[in-house]
Structures are given as structure tokens and as C-alpha cells.
Amino acid sequence: MKMLATTDLSPDITAQARRVGPPILKVEHLSREFGGVLAIGDLSFAIAAGDIHSIIGPNGAGKTTLFNLVTGVYKPSGGRVLFDGADVSGMAPYRLAARGMSRTFQNLQIFFNMTALENVMVGRHLHLNTRLLPALFRVPSLVRKDREAKDRAAQLMADVGLGKYVDADAASMPYGALKRLEIARALASEPKLLLLDEPAAGLNATESREIDEVIKTVAASGVTIVLVEHDMKMVMGISHRITALNQGRMLAEGTPQEVAANPDVIAAYLGAAP
């Protein structure tokens, strides 16, 4: 088990003076219960535009549930989610996507019935002509834009290091590549806010570092990133801010150093009484 206290904090980001953007995502008194059990309880926090903001916490802390609430996969039992200033609580995921929010999944959600490239092209959905009649009769403008989408998808695959899989069937790709394929697909929708659910889980050290680089590049291009990840080295290395959850509630929030030094966080991770 990795302990926070022994994790060295990489100085490159945390030491820099950083502009703090306006909040792109705000969660107010959010809660969700499953059959009487509170998975998320009265949770409030904000994520600044342009940040890499990590959500950490032990297993069962409610991280994935939080993602599902924010992205509209689950409906909240109470509280609000504000995206870009608008109340989007319980809004369907595809509407949120149109507003500029996308995500990846902890348990892979790949379209295994398609090629890798087509997976990413689905990510271009919002930017293409998806009506029935033009598709049936293959109107030239649709074909042209589709070809552009294809080139763009191939470029995105190259960007996340999947260049050699452009023609592969998704079903034939290794796990680590599929993790990146999800990122490429989400990026294809040109999100303002990207939620990554354990992008490094199950990856070896080299692959983790590559994902790390991908995330930094994406963030540098202006996309706000919310990250759930167990790899503390990665979290401490790339996050601007961290929110720590435990049993569905806020435990601590702050810069990586502040959170790492927080006795409650250390206690939650070590299982000791606070």
C-alpha cells in the first residue's frame, strides 16, 4: 500500500504561482442514497476552470458515485450540480456532453463492436451531421465532414500514443491501450470539463507515466480535469487541488501538500481513529 506521507511531492506544478479561474463546476449539498445507504452525503465543493482537480479517498468513499452524479448517469437524491453557472442536476449525460462535459470509466466502457478509430469517431458525434436522411443517401457534405472527423480521430489517437492501433478492432487491443482509447474518445467531443475515473488503474509504471503526460498535455490545452485515481504518486504530482472523501463526505480539501499533511486524511487511509 502506498502511504501519503512517504510520497514525494513533485515540485513542478505545486511550486508555481497559479492563476485561479472561476469555478466551472460547483457541487452544492449533493447527496445520493441507495436503498437507505448514503453513498454521498451533503457534499459541497467547487472546481476552478483550468485546474487538474483530484478526488481521492479509500475504497467506498463515493468517488465513482460522485462522478456518476455529476455526469448525469445517476440522479441526485438531494443538492445541486452547477456546470458553467447553470443548474444541471440530473440532466441526461448526452445533454451535459453537448454543454462540454465528458468522462471516462473506471470499468472500461468501450464499443467492442467497432474499430478503435470508430470508437474515437463516435466521440465526434456532436460535431457531425447525425440525421437519418442525409446518412441514408450519403450526401457529399456529410461524407466530407466524416472524412475530416476520421483524420481528426486518427490525430487524437496519435496524441494519446495509440498511433499504431488506428486500424485495430477495439476488441483486440490490450487493457492499457483501451484506457487511453477512452481518453481519446472523450477528447474528441472537445469537452471543457473532462472527468477521468482511475485512468491509471491496472497499468504498469511506464504506462502510468505515459497517462500522466497525456493528462498534463490535455490540461495545458485548457481543458479542466477532474481526476479520480489511486496512484498517489500521480495524484500528488499533477494535481492543482485535491478533495479527499471518506464514506461519502468531505474529509479535506486543498493543495496536494495541505491534503497530504491533513491528519484526518492520513487517518482515513491508515484506518486509524482520527
Binding site: G72, Q109, M114, V122, G123, N129, K150
Partner: protein, 315 residues
């Protein structure tokens, strides 16, 4: 894109070529008739395959839509004297509306619940057709006027063969176009993972409804033309077994393969004809073949054969 375009055109050309030369090998109208029936089934199956094979939604009631199309033509032309093409379009519009109305609520259902709901719709349609004998002629069915357009009457197997052949090529072309388009990818994404499709902006409910309506309209048009060709329609054309037969053709030929659906329709239309030599054993052989193909080739005929070939093809 080039390879895909290439594959699409070769497939379409191959289909057209087979249809063009086939009559030369068919000794008489009996065989031509079987080819025409296979063609009608293939048209329905290509549409149904968009729903089942590509979008991953099952329907055990599509014969109901075929039946409504057939009876719309029979009743509107025969009883009310409408021009056949108008009756055909009216039937298609009605089926489209009906499918649209039922699709929204039932496509929320998953797996076996969707199977149940579509099965129920098909059975209700066939019972209505059987019961409203004042309109439909009841269980014995009704005679249908020949198809006339611009004063020309379509008559005889030789003429209908080409009508169905052109229709089939057209439907396959539309289907291939659709699949290789943003909407086609959205449909396949719905099959692959609904939630992943949603988070990149795919309104999954909308696309499921659209493909359901489209496949129902294909079935309705095929039903209308079939009614004019056959001259007699019975409620059996709309019943549960016809629906099962259609789904079986799609799955047998190969889900998510347009040409697979055509092959499945052709093979399973021929099979009962071929099995008549087995007489009393016909059902046993048919049931046995269904079980065996599904057990040993769960992907269906064409994809299984394609996997055996060294060069991979997509269709």
C-alpha cells in the same frame, strides 16, 4: 475510408450481379417465385438487422409491421380504390407513426423485457387482423388487387423478380450508407455501451426510436409489395412465427452484417422448400438446424465464413 468504400461497392456490385444472372439459372416460375419470396424476406431482414444486429435491440414483432403494410395495401386498394402507390405510402406512414408511438416507451426496456413487449405488439396486430374480418377477411385472408402504376400493371414472376431485385439492391445500399455514417456509428455505439455513447453526446433513446421506426417502415413497404405480388394475404403473414422466422434469418445470416441478413433470408427461405423432401421430418430438421447453427456458429453464417477467409472483410 477507401478500403471501406471499396468493400461497400464490391459487395453491392456482387449482389447486383448475382441478382442479374440468377434468372438464367432458374428453370421455371416456381423457382422464380421462391427467389422473389427470398427477396421480400431479405428486404425486411436488412432493416431488422439495423435494429438487432447494429443497434442491439431485439424485436419479436416485426411481422406485425409487415402485416400492417400488406393489409393497408389490400384494404385501401381493394376496398377503397386507392392507387396502390398511395396505399403503400399510407401504410408506411401509419406503420412509422405506430412504431414511433410504441418505440419510445418500450425501447427503455432491456433484453427479455423488450423481447416480451415487441412480441406482444406483434401478437396483438395479428389477432386484430384475424378478428376484424369485415375489413380483413378474417383468418382466411383477403385477395389483393395487382399493383398498377402510371397505367402499367406489374404482373407475373418475371416482372416482380426485377422489382424485388431492384428494391433489395436499393435497401442494401441505404443500409450500407447508414452504417458508415455518424448516425450508423451512434447506433453501433448504443449496442456497444449505452452509457459511453451518452457521455459523448449520443441521445441513445432518440437513435433507438429512429432505427426501430426505420426497420418497421422497411417491413411495411415489403409487406405492401408482397401483398400485391401474392394477390392473397392471410393473418399468418403477421403472426408470431413469421416474426420469429425474420429474427432467425437475421441471426442465422450473421448479426451486424447487411449481406449476412440477405444470405440468412435467402437460405432460410430455401430451406423449407428443400426440406419438403423430408416430409414428416421437416420440423425436426428445421428445429435441429436452428439449434445447431446457433450453438456452433453463434455469430451467424456469413461472419463465421468470413473469419475463415484470410482477408478480412467488413460489410
Amino acid at each position: 475510408m477507401n478500403a471501406l468504400l471499396h468493400g461497400r461497392l464490391t459487395g453491392l456490385l456482387a449482389l447486383g450481379a448475382v441478382i442479374a444472372v440468377l434468372p438464367a439459372f432458374l428453370p421455371n416460375n416456381f423457382y422464380l417465385d421462391i427467389a422473389i419470396l427470398a427477396g421480400f424476406n431479405a428486404v425486411v431482414c436488412v432493416g431488422l438487422n439495423l435494429l438487432i444486429g447494429y443497434a442491439g435491440q431485439i424485436s419479436l414483432g416485426h411481422a406485425g409491421f409487415f402485416g400492417i403494410g400488406a393489409y393497408a395495401s389490400g384494404v385501401l386498394v381493394g376496398t377503397y380504390g386507392w392507387p396502390p402507390i398511395v396505399a403503400l405510402l399510407a401504410g408506411a406512414v401509419f406503420v412509422g407513426l405506430l412504431a414511433f408511438l410504441v418505440a419510445k416507451p418500450i425501447l427503455r426496456l432491456k433484453g427479455h423485457y423488450l423481447a416480451m413487449a415487441t412480441l406482444g405488439i406483434g401478437i396483438i396486430v395479428s389477432i386484430v387482423l384475424r378478428t376484424e374480418s369485415g375489413l380483413t377477411g378474417g383468418p382466411d385472408g383477403m385477395m389483393v388487387e395487382p399493383f398498377k402504376i402510371f397505367g402499367v400493371e406489374l404482373y407475373g414472376e418475371k416482372v416482380w423478380y426485377w422489382v424485388v431485385g431492384v428494391l433489395l439492391v436499393g435497401v442494401v445500399w441505404l443500409s450500407l450508407n447508414l452504417i458508415d455514417s455518424p448516425m450508423g456509428r451512434a447506433l453501433r455505439a448504443v449496442h456497444g455501451s449505452e452509457v459511453a455513447a451518452e457521455v459523448v453526446g449520443v441521445d441513445t433513446a432518440r437513435f433507438k426510436v429512429m432505427v426501430f421506426v426505420l426497420s418497421a417502415v422497411f417491413a411495411s413497404v415489403a409487406g405492401s409489395l408482397f401483398a400485391h405480388y401474392a394477390g392473397l394475404i392471410t393473418p399468418a403473414k403477421a403472426d408470431f412465427f413469421k416474426s420469429i422466422e425474420l429474427v432467425t434469418m437475421v441471426v442465422f445470416g450473421g448479426m451486424a452484417s447487411t449481406f449476412g441478413a440477405v444470405v440468412g433470408a435467402v437460405v432460410l427461405t430455401l430451406l423449407p422448400q428443400a426440406l419438403t423432401i423430408f416430409q414428416d421430418y421437416q420440423q425436426i430438421v428445421l428445429g435441429g438446424i436452428l439449434m445447431a447453427t446457433m450453438v456452433f456458429m453463434p455469430k451467424g453464417l456469413l461472419p463465421t465464413l468470413a473469419a475463415l477467409l484470410p482477408a478480412r472483410r467488413r460489410a
